[in-house]
C-alpha cells in the first residue's frame, strides 16, 4: 500500500511572476488613463523597488513615456549612483539627475541641531518636492515605489516616499519584489545588494528594522492572516522576532492613514460621506 503524506499547509509568498507583471502593467496603464495621464515619472534610487517600478512603467507605457529621475544628496552612496544609471540603461530610459544637496543643506545650515534622522526625512521630502514638480513639468504622474513590508513597518518618511498617487508594489512584500525584479530583468547587482534607504551613510534596512526581510515577510503574512503567535513559532520563528514585527506594525497604523479629522457631523468625509477615489459621475 502506498501511503501519501500531504505536506504541511503554509502561506506561500512565491507568486506567478509573469501573471503579476501583466497585472501590474495593466494597473499602471489604467490607473494613469482615467486620471488623464499617459506618462509617468519615477524616482530611481539605485535600489530594487524603484528599479522594479521603472521596469513595470516601461512595460506599461513605453520607454519614451517614462521619465526617470535620480535625486542624489552629496552623502548618498556612490554605489546608488552606479546602480541608478545601470537600471536606467537596462530599461532604455534617460536618467535626469537633480542634486538635492543645495535644498537639504540650505535648511540644514539654518538648523544646527538637525540630527541625521531628521536630515534623512528632509532628503525624502526634498525628493518628493522635485518628483512632483517634474510631474507637473512633464505632465507625467509620479509612481510610488514603496513595498508592503516597509509600509507595514512604517519604514518610510510620512508624506515623503509614500506620497505618489499610484503605487504598483504596495501589496508586495520586499521578498516578493525581489522575485518580480528577477522576472523583469532588473540587474542582479541591484536585486542582490543589501537593501538600504541610503539616507545616512552605512545604513541598512535590516539593521534599522532588527529583522531579516526573508523572515519578517513570512511572519507578517501569517500575522495579517490571523495566525496566532504559537502557530508562527511552530514554523521556526522566535517569539522575539514575532514580537518585534507585530510591534512595528501596531506602532505605525497612523502612518498608513490620512490625517485625523475631528468628526462633528453626519457628513464627515471618509466617515459618513464615502465615495471611491475614482468616482466621477
Amino acid at each position: 500500500m502506498r501511503i501519501v503524506q500531504a505536506p504541511k499547509a503554509q502561506e506561500s509568498l512565491e507568486l506567478n511572476w509573469p501573471l503579476v507583471a501583466d497585472f501590474l502593467t495593466r494597473f499602471i496603464r489604467e490607473e494613469l488613463a482615467w486620471r488623464g495621464y499617459e506618462k509617468a515619472v519615477v524616482a530611481v534610487s539605485g535600489g530594487v523597488d524603484s528599479a522594479t517600478t521603472l521596469a513595470l512603467a516601461v512595460r506599461a507605457l513605453g520607454r519614451k513615456q517614462v521619465h526617470a529621475l535620480f535625486l542624489p544628496h552629496r552623502d548618498s552612496s556612490p554605489l546608488s549612483r552606479e546602480h541608478a544609471y545601470l537600471v536606467a540603461e537596462t530599461f532604455g530610459v534617460d536618467l535626469e539627475e537633480v542634486d538635492i544637496t543645495p535644498m537639504v543643506e540650505g535648511y540644514a545650515a539654518m538648523t544646527p541641531d538637525l540630527t541625521p534622522h531628521r536630515k534623512g526625512n528632509l532628503m525624502a521630502r526634498a525628493r518628493m518636492m522635485v518628483l512632483f514638480d517634474k510631474s507637473q513639468a512633464y505632465q507625467a504622474l509620479p509612481l510610488g515605489t514603496g513595498n508592503k513590508t516597509e509600509r507595514l513597518f512604517g519604514y518610510f518618511t510620512w508624506h515623503g516616499d509614500d506620497t505618489p498617487p499610484v503605487n504598483p508594489l504596495g501589496d508586495l512584500y520586499k521578498t516578493q519584489v525581489w522575485g518580480l525584479a528577477r522576472h523583469l530583468g532588473v540587474p542582479q547587482a541591484v536585486v542582490e545588494k543589501v537593501p538600504t534607504a541610503d539616507l545616512i551613510p552605512g545604513q541598512t534596512d535590516e539593521g534599522d528594522l532588527g529583522v531579516r526581510y526573508l523572515r519578517a515577510d513570512v511572519i507578517l503574512e501569517h500575522y495579517l492572516k490571523g495566525y496566532p503567535d504559537a502557530y508562527i513559532e511552530s514554523l521556526g520563528y522566535t517569539q522575539e522576532e514575532i514580537g518585534r514585527v507585530k510591534e512595528r506594525v501596531n506602532r505605525t497604523h497612523w502612518k498608513r492613514a490620512l490625517p485625523t479629522v475631528a468628526l462633528l457631523s453626519s457628513t464627515a468625509i471618509g466617515e459618513f460621506y464615502l465615495r471611491p477615489l475614482d468616482y466621477r459621475p
Binding site: S12, L15, N16, L19, V20, F23, R275, Y279, P281
Partner: protein
C-alpha cells in the same frame, strides 16, 4: 440553438452615459454575429465599487429599460434583443444589487436581486444595499432560465433551487477583484472555473458567467467570463483583465441527453424532501 454573446465589459466609473455609448459601440461590433441574447456583467453601467454613490446612480427597472431601449434604438438593431445586465436598482427608497433580463426594446422580463451581499475583506455591499429575498427561474422567449449575481453563485444551494425551478441556463453577472497570484490564474478565477463547471455538471444546466473587467482604485476586476455546457465542459472562456466577447450557441436539445446520462437533478428532486427536516434542524427550526 440560441446565439449568445457574453460581453466582458469595462465601464468607466460612475459614468452611465459614457458607458451606454460604449455599450452601443460593442453591440455594433457584435451585430454581424447576430446574437439573440447578450449577457453583461454585474454593475455594468457604473462599475462595481460605488460606496455611497449607489444612492446617486441607482436606477429603477423602468429607467433601465428606457436607457437600454435607447441603445437598441441608437444602434438600429433589427428585431428583438435580449440582454442580461447587472445594475444598481432603486425601488421605494431601497437599493439593491440587481440584474435584469430585458427583451429590448419592449419589456423587463425579470429582475433578480442579489441575495448574498459580500461584506467582508474588500467587499462592503451590505452597508449600502438591501438584500434580495428570492431565487427563482423565469420564462423568456427562448426558454426557462435564472439569474444569480456573483456571490449568489458561490453558494451551491442557489443554483440547486434555480435548477429545481426549471432553469436550463443560469446567467451569472459578476464583478470579481483578482486576488491570490500564486497559481496559473488568480485564485478567484480558479474558483469561478471550478464552480461553474461543477454546477453545470451537477444539474445539467448551461452556466453563463459574465465578469467585469477594469481597475477600480487598484482592484483589478478579473474577467475570465465563461460559457459552460450542461455536462460541465467549458465551451468558451474570455481572457483575463481585458474587454472581450464570447460567442456560443446555447442548445436546449443537449440538456435531456446529458441529464439522462447523469440524472442528478431528478435524484435531488426526489431526495430533497427527505433532507428537509435536517435542513430545518440545522437552521434551528425543529427536528431532533
Amino acid at each position: 440553438m440560441i446565439r449568445h454573446a457574453v460581453l466582458q465589459f469595462r465601464p468607466e466609473k460612475a459614468r452611465v452615459k459614457e458607458n451606454l455609448a460604449r455599450l452601443a459601440e460593442r453591440l455594433e461590433a457584435l451585430r454581424p454575429h447576430t446574437p439573440e441574447v447578450v449577457v453583461l456583467p454585474e454593475a455594468a453601467l457604473t462599475g462595481y465599487f460605488l460606496q455611497g454613490g449607489v444612492r446617486e446612480l441607482a436606477l429603477t427597472r423602468h429607467e433601465l429599460l428606457e436607457l437600454l431601449s435607447g441603445v437598441h434604438r441608437a444602434v438600429g438593431w433589427e428585431g428583438l434583443l435580449d440582454v442580461v445586465v447587472g445594475f444598481y436598482e432603486r425601488d421605494e427608497g431601497a437599493y439593491y444589487n440587481s440584474a435584469a433580463y430585458l427583451e429590448l426594446p419592449h419589456r423587463v422580463v425579470h429582475v433578480h436581486r442579489k441575495v448574498f451581499l459580500p461584506t467582508y475583506g474588500v467587499f462592503d455591499e451590505e452597508r449600502y444595499l438591501a438584500r434580495g429575498r428570492r431565487v427563482e427561474a423565469f420564462n423568456t422567449r427562448f426558454g426557462r432560465v435564472a439569474i444569480l449575481i456573483c456571490e449568489d453563485f458561490w453558494h451551491s444551494i442557489t443554483a440547486a433551487i434555480a435548477a429545481l425551478d426549471g432553469a436550463e441556463a443560469i446567467y451569472v453577472p459578476a464583478a470579481s477583484p483578482a486576488r491570490g497570484f500564486q497559481g496559473e490564474r488568480p485564485e478567484n478565477v480558479e474558483r469561478w472555473r471550478t464552480l461553474a463547471r461543477a454546477v453545470a455538471a451537477e444539474h445539467g444546466v448551461y452556466v453563463v458567467l459574465s465578469s467585469l473587467v477594469g481597475f477600480e482604485g487598484g482592484k483589478g476586476m478579473s474577467g475570465g467570463s465563461l460559457a459552460v455546457g450542461p455536462e460541465g465542459r467549458i465551451l468558451a472562456e474570455a481572457p483575463l483583465f481585458e474587454e472581450a466577447a464570447l460567442l456560443f450557441d446555447l442548445d436546449p436539445g443537449r440538456i435531456p441527453p446529458v441529464r439522462y446520462d447523469s440524472p442528478l437533478l431528478s435524484d435531488l428532486e426526489a431526495a430533497l424532501p427527505l433532507l428537509l427536516p435536517d435542513l430545518e434542524r440545522v437552521l434551528g427550526k425543529g427536528g431532533e
